[in-house]
């Protein structure tokens, strides 16, 4: 996102006019000194403490996400090189319901979490994956994949939580996929992809050697790692900033009652921005304070929407589509959580 500021062109003829930027920077300098002289003495120590917390939390999210982002972009690179459009249309049905269901289960084949799924989905769209299948894949894959099944089972056991987490995520993903299948023109949903295949300056011929193909795949992986890493970093900074300045306890304090507690868990899922492969262990910590339904909604919603994934979605989808991608899962997770709170003994 670059902001271009266009200054009005000036036609100053006076000899040696002071450049505007110089005046501006002097003014800013004076202003800064005035402001700095006014801050209480403890301010910088406080800021330094905060900065330390920020750095640790930011690097925590970043270091945790790096391997998963690498895996996702590698999958994307391999798909680009080794898969062609004909194969895709052979495997995936174009009937909306079949496509949405198929897409939702594709996570079992591509085990990616929410950082890796975005570049991979974009690549699959580029290869002609139907819209509904791609959307279902995007939302379901971070939950419906082997790694997450095992980590959830490790935290909660092979029981209710695992079953309902998978089940509800599946339902939400398919519903949102079907909603998007109404849109026939994918250009209304996806942002135009300018140079997705720019890597093809030396287009690999059909008979290129395997080594050459892998080399191409790695080049794509690196490019996409940088492109998506940018938004991961932005999201991680935002999440770390919010965590540094907003007290989690104030959020948890309002979290009682069958409706409010679900809302609190959903907001927490957005704020925490943790990877879906490990969020079950985090959710475990809430089990005593929060009801089954609230924790379940956290586990269902968190992998679909959080700060960093929304920022990444915005690079792939048009803004209106992102609204749907956030709002429908939010409503459905909220509903699911509330239903469980009321009807679960």
């Amino acid at each position: 996102m670059t902001v271009v500021i266009i200054f009005p062109v000036q036609n100053t003829t006076s000899p040696r006019p002071l450049p505007r930027s110089l005046i501006l920077s002097i003014l800013i300098g004076i202003l800064l000194m005035v402001v700095l002289s006014m801050v209480p003495s403890g301010f910088f120590a406080w800021l330094w403490e905060k900065l330390n917390v920020f750095a640790t939390v930011f690097l925590g999210i970043f270091v945790e996400a790096i391997p998963y982002l690498l895996l996702g972009t590698l999958a994307s690179g391999l798909v680009e090189v080794f898969m062609d459009r004909d194969q895709m249309s052979k495997w995936i049905s174009h009937r909306p319901i079949a496509a949405a269901v198929g897409g939702a289960f594709m996570g079992l084949v591509f085990p990616v979490c929410e950082c890796g799924v975005v570049p991979l989905t974009r690549r699959l769209f580029n290869k002609g994956l139907p819209l509904s299948a791609g959307i279902s894949f995007l939302l379901a894959a971070p939950v419906l994949n082997p790694i997450v099944v095992f980590s959830t089972a490790a935290a909660f056991g092979w029981g209710n939580m695992l079953f309902w987490r998978m089940g509800i995520s599946l339902v939400i993903a398919i519903v949102v996929g079907l909603v998007f299948s109404v849109e026939k023109d994918s250009a209304n949903v996806l942002r135009p992809v300018l140079n997705l295949s720019h890597e093809h300056d030396h287009t690999p011929e059909a008979n290129a050697s395997i080594a050459e193909k892998f080399r191409q795949a790695l080049l794509i992986t690196a490019d996409e790692f940088f492109e998506m890493g940018r938004y991961l970093i932005l999201g991680a900074m935002l999440a770390a900033g919010l965590q540094t300045f907003i007290a989690q306890s104030s959020l948890l304090a309002i979290g009682s009652g069958p409706v409010l507690s679900v809302l609190v868990m959903l907001v927490l899922a957005i704020l925490l921005s943790i990877c879906s492969t490990v969020d079950a262990f985090v959710a475990l910590g809430f089990m005593g304070t929060f009801s089954f339904g609230s924790v379940l909604s956290f586990l269902v919603f968190g992998p679909m929407v959080d700060i960093k994934s929304v920022i990444m979605y915005l690079q792939v989808f048009r803004r209106r589509s992102v609204t749907y991608l956030v709002a429908i899962p939010f409503m459905m997770s909220l509903l699911a959580g509330i239903l469980f709170n009321y009807f679960q003994p």
């Binding site: 640790t56 999210i61 940088f226 890493g229 262990f281 910590g285 304070t289």
Partner: protein
């Protein structure tokens, strides 16, 4: 930016990231950021970053040879902002000294004297461990999940943690606390056990101590929590892994 320059910067940044993560892993500071369990994944990441960096370097070499053979149009490289963003974590990692979460994070991350953290299997074996081997997390788990606390009262305890003073505490009391991290520092929260020691006032906030004493139970905010009647409190260096991993 010409494509080849972009590729060079990419390669350098990938290499930088690889060295940064690799050195953190080597020094053990990786556990300031993530749960020990995920360290192997990061090591995989380090290796993969090295492979990517190498691919970028060799790609540049190839394209230079390629260009000398035929005249080649300049390809457009992706936005150079991508590169600047990748610099951010490196700068933060290098410029701000690595420090694990401590009491300065209490204000926003919250801090608990009881937190029900129990995974499906851990509770049973917890009661069998020797009482002096239990850490802060174990004791708090135990007080949360055991209905009959009688056998545990009066047991000897020996826990390590950092000192935290709070106005809710009585005279001669302090918290001995640890951060618990399930996944990464983003989900870390502090657990604290009350300790009672006549010379508590001589302790410094955030300093690491080994508290030895006898466990009692007290009621704090309507919950029964453990309290250590300290017999000795000695200063210890910060543990290599400052967090506890449930």
């Amino acid at each position: 930016m010409p494509k080849r320059l972009y590729r060079s910067f990419q390669a350098l940044l990938l290499l930088g990231m690889c060295i940064f993560l690799g050195s953190k892993a080597a020094s053990g500071q990786l556990t300031y950021y993530i749960n020990q369990r995920f360290v192997p994944l990061t090591i995989f990441g380090v290796i993969f970053l090295a492979i990517l960096a190498q691919t970028m370097f060799s790609e540049n070499k190839r394209s230079r040879q390629h260009d000398s053979e035929h005249d080649h149009d300049h390809d457009h490289a992706p936005a150079s902002a991508n590169l600047w963003f990748m610099l951010v974590p490196l700068l933060i990692g290098v410029l701000i000294p690595a420090r694990p979460l401590d009491s300065s994070a209490f204000a926003t991350k919250g801090f608990n004297t009881n937190s029900p953290l129990v995974s499906a299997d851990s509770s049973a074996q917890l009661f069998e461990t020797d009482s002096e081997d239990r850490n802060v997390l174990d004791w708090i788990k135990l007080f949360n999940y055991e209905t009959n606390l009688a056998p545990f009262i009066g047991q000897k305890a020996s826990v390590i943690g950092f000192v935290y003073f709070d106005e809710t505490l009585g005279k001669n009391q302090f918290f001995v606390s640890r951060f618990v991290v399930s996944c990464c520092a983003a989900d870390g929260f502090a657990l604290a056990m009350i300790s009672e020691w006549p010379q508590a006032a001589t302790l410094e906030q955030d300093s690491w101590v080994l508290v030895k004493g006898v466990v009692k139970s007290v009621t704090l905010n309507d919950r029964v929590v453990p309290l250590i009647q300290a017999e000795s409190v000695q200063a210890v260096p910060e543990p290599e892994q400052p967090y506890l991993f449930p």
